[in-house]
């Protein structure tokens, strides 16, 4: 069979108007695919690598869009566009970290079309995997990106387990730092995951990025009020200032009092197959002054044990410095 790319094959399209209807379609068919903004999906379809028979497009499910108050926090529908997340007063005023991260996703056009849910569950951008190579993540038995000669400048420096791909979701780190929860529905009912447990590394499941299994829908993201109005730090370093994934990013929520860190929640992304919550760093900085010394210690601790590949050693100092800046309290 010859290979052809960049030309979408046909599939059956469903456009349900409710979550129940969507779940029903997913339940009734095999080889399904849930389509949100389509920015990740279309790449896969066009390259004919992921070939669903049935595509369930959620654009008409109104219960999945919108931002509303929920307890002391907010709840964001998974189909809410990134643009709406960025523009939301609720998000900006209390959870600015998410607004900052969402604002740096790709381009304005993509943020208009792309959704929060889609951004979170996007597949990795490992170019070996996305090139259709039969790697572990694609069900094969080699990680082509992890060899001593591979082109892995963008790949993982930690959390590798056979696969060395990284999570590319900008909003993921921010939501981990905000202590968000992911609400997932399937025919079997609703499950709620802490943001950091929502993402799955290759050591656990090498073919998935999140806990979502066929038949599951991420419906909402709930952000509790715990970190509202904390000092936030977001930074994404990339090769181009638009339409580019992070080489590394940091998202931090830090509560300070008189220059001393009372509590912190910090995540880095772009360095591992999942966003990495830095619990040790959070513990370390508690009670310490927010300055460069603390930042440096935090950065060193964050990157301890990082195992760079052939071309990505720079990510070690990069992640270290990003954590350092977040803790130090640079103006984001």
């Amino acid at each position: 069979m010859a290979v052809i790319r960049d030309m979408m094959p046909a599939f059956e399209l469903f456009q349900p108007t409710s979550v129940d209807e969507a779940l029903d379609v997913l339940e009734r068919h095999d080889n399904t695919w849930v389509l949100a903004g389509g920015l990740d999906s279309m790449d896969w379809f066009k390259d004919r690598i992921k070939r669903p028979d049935v595509v369930v497009e959620l654009g008409s499910v109104s219960e999945l869009t919108g931002i509303r108050a929920s307890g002391d926090g907010i709840e964001i529908g998974a189909m809410t566009s990134l643009r709406d997340v960025v523009a939301s007063d609720d998000v900006r005023s209390r959870f600015g970290l998410l607004a900052q991260a969402a604002a740096e996703v790709a381009t304005p056009q993509i943020r208009n079309q792309g959704t929060l849910g889609g951004n979170l569950i996007q597949d990795t951008r490992c170019w070996y995997y996305r090139g259709g190579w039969p790697c572990y993540r694609a069900g094969g038995n080699i990680c082509y990106a992890g060899t001593p000669r591979s082109m892995n400048r963008e790949h993982a420096v930690t959390g590798q387990s056979r696969c060395v791909a990284v999570n590319g979701a900008d909003t993921a780190g921010a939501l981990v730092a905000l202590g968000a929860q992911m609400m997932v529905r399937s025919a079997g009912g609703e499950r709620v995951y802490e943001a950091e447990d929502f993402f799955v590394g290759p050591e656990i499941d090498i073919e998935r990025m999140t806990v979502l299994e066929p038949g599951d829908l991420l419906t909402h993201v709930r952000i509790p009020g715990d970190w509202a109005d904390a000092r936030f730090y977001w930074e994404k370093v990339r090769d181009r200032k638009s339409w580019d994934w992070a080489l590394a990013s940091v998202a931090a929520a830090i509560v300070e009092s008189n220059g001393t860190i009372e509590r912190a929640r910090i995540a880095v992304n772009g360095v591992a197959p999942t966003p990495v919550r830095l619990t040790d760093v959070e513990n370390l900085v508690q009670g310490m002054p927010a300055n460069d010394d603390t930042g440096m210690a935090a950065g060193e601790l964050a990157t301890r044990g990082f195992k760079p590949l052939r071309h990505n050693d720079y990510k070690v100092p990069l992640a270290r410095n990003l954590v350092r800046r977040a803790v130090r309290g640079d103006a984001a």
């Binding site: 039969p134 069900g139 038995n141 080699i142 082509y144 060899t147 001593p148 387990s161």
Partner: protein, 291 residues
């Protein structure tokens, strides 16, 4: 049912990738069907041979040691690692997700070391060939099959220390274990370990495919074998064997009933291991194939 999985390599050539996990279910179902079939056979159809009381033999001690402490320790350690390997290999396949890779390869190394120990032990301290099938055993096998087909009463032939069924099982397990271990060691080059960083180009992609296929086939084969093994271990007429693997000994009566003293001569094995079972892998726990 899909048996093997292929995928286009980076150059678009179809290469083997591994076994299809449908095979796991096939193996489990095969094991289950064997268990059910054998149970029904024994329960309903198997002709009962009259039990004859063995001649008294006061020279045989009250308790005959069948498995030495070392052999038993080996057996149970190996059983634990084997189960660990199977659980870490197959639970993720059936949807129970956890970080299995490191546990799996560590268990694999433990198993390999145990088997190396076993080979040395068996060849120095035990009658190495006592558990292998030779021409004589193959002849016995034909006879047994003939009897089965003629539906003659399955009067149990008294055997040497390891009866035919145990020997056959041991051989099969040896072969399959050898397969998983050799392929498993090769696969270690595909993961980061304490000893080296992964180098997936250690083998070509098609060779990797073969390695994964062999590993997968042996692995699912072990599933069937282990099911059968555990089944016999808990069958009532084999429990004396299971007990011997726990406590080490069999009774004089059991010895005389099941063994031909000419073939298993007490006190003739190398010193210190005269009664040791020590058979390779899990074979010596019990009988296997219905006589």
């Amino acid at each position: 049912m899909e048996i093997l999985r292929t995928a286009p390599n980076p150059w678009g050539q179809e290469v083997l990738v591994g076994v299809a996990w449908d095979l796991l279910w096939a193996a489990a179902i095969a094991g289950f069907l064997f268990v059910v079939g054998h149970h029904l056979y024994v329960w309903i159809m198997a002709p009962k041979a009259p039990k004859t009381a063995p001649e008294p033999a006061p020279e045989v001690p009250e308790r005959v040691e069948r498995h030495s402490q070392a052999s038993r320790t080996f057996h149970w350690l190996m059983a634990a690692t084997m189960l660990t390997l199977l659980v870490t290999a197959f639970f993720p396949v059936i949807g129970v997700q956890f970080a299995w890779v490191t546990i799996h390869w560590i268990a694999g190394i433990v198993l390999t070391l145990l088997i190396i120990w076993h080979i040395i032990h068996a060849s120095t301290k035990q009658d190495f060939w006592s558990v292998w099938t030779g021409t004589k055993e193959i002849g016995q096998a034909f006879q047994a099959v003939g009897k089965f087909l003629r539906r003659e009463p399955a009067k149990e032939e008294r055997s040497g220390k390891y009866p035919l069924d145990q020997r056959a099982y041991h051989n099969a397990v040896t072969l399959v274990s050898f397969g998983v271990i050799v392929t498993g060691i090769l696969m270690m080059f595909g993961v980061d370990t304490w000893f080296w960083a992964s180098n997936p180009y250690f083998l070509s992609d098609s060779t990797w495919g073969l390695v994964f296929v062999l590993h997968g086939l042996c692995g699912v084969g072990l599933v069937t074998m282990v099911i059968a093994h555990i089944y016999f271990a808990i069958r009532p007429e084999k429990r004396w064997m299971t007990r011997s693997m726990i406590k080490g000994w069999i009774t004089r009566e059991e010895y005389l009933e099941h063994y031909d003293p000419d073939l298993w001569k007490l006190g003739t094995e190398p010193a210190g291991a005269e009664l040791a079972g020590g058979s390779a892998s899990s074979a010596d726990a019990d009988g296997v194939v219905p006589a």
